[in-house]
């Protein structure tokens, strides 16, 4: 069969992992863009100059950046999900062909 790369189990695992990745990264992206305080340590803040900041705009910009990163990663996982779904379907077709 053309295009059949993974076996059925690998395709199923890939589909589950991608689905989880899409949902979790999308939610993480939402939490980042709404500037959730719990995620403060996961934002790439390095220098101590934030203590001199008068307003939180710089931190908000960083939050948004990570949020968009998460959304893009979720998009990549959607592609993985589509790929795994196709592989799963090809595997099912192959199983029907043999018998």
């Amino acid at each position: 069969m053309r295009g059949l790369i993974c076996g059925p189990k690998l395709a199923a695992c890939g589909l589950v992992l991608s689905a989880w990745g899409v949902i979790m990264l999308a939610m993480l992206g939402i939490f980042y863009t709404t500037h959730s305080a719990v995620l403060i340590e996961d934002v790439p803040v390095i220098d101590h100059s934030i203590y001199q900041d008068g307003s939180p705009e710089r931190i908000y910009a960083l939050y948004n950046k990570v949020g968009y990163n998460c959304f893009i990663a979720a998009g990549i996982y959607i592609l993985f999900a589509v790929f795994s779904g196709c592989q799963l379907r090809l595997n099912k077709q192959k199983a029907y062909l043999v018998h």
Partner: protein, 849 residues
């Protein structure tokens, strides 16, 4: 009714099976799976039983079926393992099946042997062809290089390479012989060396490898062979060479002396090989046809033969009554199923066309029946984990219905994470949705079967973990702020407690709840999300979780003690209520119940304002035992008096527990001088059969002798052994009192495991996910994708599988030891009915493959 709480009421019944209809009745009973047969011929050897010939026939058929199955599997034909359920065949149909099987065996054997012979033949011819082809190249090499050899014709022995020279040999007059054949490549070196050593140079060996793999007929594996050609002078050498060739298992073929002969032989071989191929094809096709036809019905036959064998085993357990010409069987049967049993016997009699029906008769007995608890697909998982510790005694309280809720709850307390619980619940939900999928049900992977059998347990565990994840406010180690935190940081600034300079000057700052506006009220459900950012988070959570563990432990254990009242009441041992249950409960509640009370008191009465003067409960608890109150502020007025009272009650309950029951029973059994009053009282109560045998059963429990059952009722007064009873009770007292302390501490594993899980989860997030999220570069997004994949795999393998198994094990231990040793004895026998559905359901399990 009440089957799950206590187990079914069982009775011993006698079945009178007429000889003609015995087989059919047993078939009916096997299909229904109602009763457990008792062995009425225990002293009879397996070979002396009545139906041993039929069983031998069945085993012979099984042997043939096994051979058939192996052949079918070898030919790669798929077996239709459908959900067929054929009925057991009648004895008159058995001969037909036997004949068919024997015929098939003979046919298959013949065809297989023929096929093997043909294959061997083909191999020989192929080897011969190869040999002729390759040895031609030896000769051709010679003819090409003949001009070079001319100068050496005087000295043939000095020629070291493997060329032959016909002409020089003929001139010497020596008789040249040739031996040619094939040998395995692995042996050619040794062969050559042996030839050289033995024949001392009177032979010349040339060899070349065959390019393709030839199948070794003995092992069936492809192996490389080498064609060799030995030329020798003299007959003696020839004999030696032949012997060496035999040693090395060479396949020898005649070497043609002239080229014309060689070409003829090659032509002949080619035609023969072609013919053989055709014949072989036809044979294989025929074999496949035979096997396909056999494979259609082999599954049915296997089940039929198994059922028949099972029926004959059961018939062997019955005893033959000569006067009534019927078989008598003794069975354990649930009382509620007696009408069904009657109907089954009637059906069996009707099917066999017997004039006299078989019937069932209930008989009284002193034996303890086996325990049967009816479960459905949801409760069977929980019943299995209770039975793994021990099957309950007959009609003892069954911990399983309570385990359905407490086990997932205690698991969830140790596992509490919303995200992980969600994944676990989804996995279990998938298994539950696809539980009728045959592929999932019938795999042979042991580990998968274990998970699949416990799918409802895992579902409950996952759902409860979602709940405790909400309470602990922990989702993949991050807190969710659903309702808005109750703590307010800006209030500290408004109240002028903190200034801007404080932030840059200090690494840690403490929010003071006593300042107005900082703490606006408790979070509605669970732990406030601000604790996720606090550095003293563990200090707060440890205190909370430890106290919660002790509270849950004391409640669970008290519940266990209270459950024992069900047993005491059911087995009509009211004295146990006052002499065992009451002291146990008082001991537990006066000491540890009071500890729980103090915990709640401290939580409710002391607020943030009194936090500096809040007492340490541990100090107060220790002082309670030492009966001193050295200078610490009392929690409430009258505390010392109450504590002294509680300690005295607890200490007094120990001798009551130790001596009460043995002394009371001694007084009861040795109060012979007042027989009329008490015996009469006991006689009045013996108005049902069940009570009669229950009295005898619980007399046996009381430590009276465990001798045979035929002794009379006088036994119960004569054989009461005070020393035995006292020892038993002493052990129970020590076990209980020390157990209370150690078991309460044991429940602290609820805290320990939930701490471990939370910390592992946090470490995984910090070391894996944070690395991906904090990537500052524009390639950060591409890095995040594999990092998340790694995070997911590690979450499943470490946090779900490893921690899940760990929490499962500890929750199970808490149930088995701390909960069940308060009321459960678990020394019963499980009811195993004679049922065809309990026979193995796949070929490997049948032991045929």
């Amino acid at each position: 009714m009440c089957s799950l709480l206590r187990g079914e009421e069982m009775c011993l019944a006698q079945l009178f099976l007429q000889s003609g209809s015995a087989y059919d009745c047993v078939v009916e009973l096997g299909e229904l799976g109602l009763v457990e047969f008792r062995d009425l011929n225990p002293s009879v050897n397996a070979f002396q039983r009545k139906h041993v010939n039929e069983i031998k026939k069945c085993e012979e058929m099984e042997r043939i079926l096994g051979y058939l199955l192996r052949e079918v599997k070898k030919a790669d034909i798929s077996l239709p393992e459908g959900d067929v359920n054929p009925v057991a065949p009648l004895p008159k149909h058995v001969m037909a099946i036997m004949e068919q099987l024997q015929r098939l065996e003979v046919e298959l054997g013949e065809v297989t042997r023929n096929k093997e012979k043909l294959q061997r033949n083909l191999l020989e011819l192929t080897e011969y062809t190869h040999m002729l082809r390759i040895s031609r190249s030896f000769v051709q090499k010679t003819s090409e290089q003949e001009p070079l050899q001319v100068q050496y014709e005087e000295f043939p022995f000095l020629e070291k390479d493997t060329l032959m020279d016909y002409s020089s040999m003929q001139r010497l007059g020596a008789k040249l012989g040739f031996i040619s054949g094939l040998i395995k490549r692995t042996k050619i070196e040794a062969f050559e060396r042996m030839l050289w050593r033995v024949c001392k140079g009177y032979t010349i060996l040339s060899h070349a490898e065959v390019e393709e793999y030839l199948e070794d007929p003995d092992t069936g594996e492809p192996s490389r062979s080498v064609v060799f050609l030995i030329s020798y002078w003299g007959d003696q050498i020839g004999q030696k060479v032949k012997k060496i060739c035999d040693c090395y298992h060479c396949h020898l073929y005649p070497y043609p002396s002239t080229n014309e002969e060689r070409n003829d032989v090659v032509e002949g071989l080619r035609t023969r090989i072609q013919d053989l191929h055709t014949v072989l094809h036809r044979t294989e096709d025929y074999l496949k046809q035979v096997l396909m036809k056999a494979s259609e019905s082999v599954y049915t036959w296997v089940i039929q033969v198994k059922k028949m064998k099972a029926i004959y085993y059961i018939l062997n357990l019955c005893s033959f009554d000569v006067t009534n010409k019927c078989l008598i069987a003794e069975v354990w049967c649930p009382v509620n199923d007696i009408p069904t049993l009657r109907r089954a016997l009637e059906e069996g009699s009707r099917k066999s066309g017997a004039t006299v029906p078989s019937f069932v008769n209930r008989i009284p007995t002193n034996d303890t029946p086996p325990t049967q608890i009816r479960t459905n697909k949801f409760t069977s998982g929980f019943q299995n984990i209770v039975d793994a510790y021990g099957v309950g005694n007959y009609r003892e309280v069954n911990p399983a219905p309570f385990t359905i809720i407490t086990f997932p709850f205690l698991f969830a307390v140790m596992f509490g994470d919303l995200g992980h619980g969600l994944i676990m619940a989804l996995f279990a939900f998938w298994m539950v949705l696809y539980e009728n999928n045959r592929k999932l049900k019938n795999t042979r992977n042991e580990i998968w079967n274990t998970f699949f059998e416990g799918r409802y347990i895992i579902l409950m565990m996952g759902l409860f973990s979602i709940y405790t994840g909400l309470i602990y406010n922990d989702c993949f180690s991050k807190s969710l702020n659903i309702f808005g935190s109750g703590w307010n940081v800006s209030a500290m600034f408004r109240a002028e407690v903190w200034k801007n300079a404080d932030i840059s000057g200090n690494r840690f700052l403490t929010l003071d709840p006593n300042v107005t506006g900082v703490f606006t009220g408790p979070y509605p459900l669970g732990i406030d999300p601000i604790w996720n950012l606090a550095s003293n988070r563990l200090t707060f959570l440890n205190s909370y979780k430890m106290k919660m563990s002790v509270i849950l432990g004391v409640i669970h254990m008290s519940f266990g003690v209270i459950l024992s009242t069900y047993n005491h009441l059911h087995f009509r041992k009211k004295h146990n209520l006052y002499l065992v249950f009451l002291p146990e409960l008082l001991f537990l509640l006066c000491l540890f119940g009071y500890l729980v009370f103090m915990i709640f008191y401290k939580w409710l009465v002391f607020t943030a304002k009194d936090s500096r003067e809040a007492p340490s409960i541990l100090i107060h608890f220790i002082n309670m035992f030492l009966m001193q109150s050295d200078g610490v502020q009392p929690l409430y007025p009258g505390q010392t008096g109450l504590q002294v009272f509680l300690v005295v009650v607890a200490v007094l309950s120990v001798p009551v527990l130790l001596l009460g029951k043995p002394v009371y029973l001694y007084w009861l059994h040795n109060g012979n001088h007042r027989p009329g009053l008490y015996r009469g009282y006991e006689r009045v109560r013996r108005n049902s059969e069940e009570e009669l045998y229950l009295m005898r059963a619980h007399d046996m429990e009381e430590g009276a002798s465990h001798s045979d059952l035929s002794s009379s009722g006088e036994r119960q007064t004569d054989e009461f052994d005070f020393a035995d009873e006292f020892l038993h009770q002493a052990i129970h007292t020590i076990e209980y009192c020390l157990g209370c302390v150690s078991n309460t501490a044991s429940y602290l594993r609820l805290w320990a495991l939930s701490l471990a899980h939370a910390q592992l989860s946090e470490v995984l997030w910090t070391m894996v996910m944070r690395v991906g999220l904090r990537m500052d570069t524009s390639l950060g997004v591409l890095f995040l994708v594999p990092v998340f994949g790694l995070f997911a795999v590690l979450t499943v393998s470490i946090l779900l599988v490893m921690e899940g198994l760990s929490a499962f094990l500890h929750a199970l231990r808490l149930h088995w030891v701390e909960f069940q040793n308060k009321f459960y004895s678990g020394t019963g026998v499980k009811f195993s009915p004679f049922s065809f559905s309990l026979l193995p359901s796949s070929f490997e399990q049948y032991g045929l493959l």
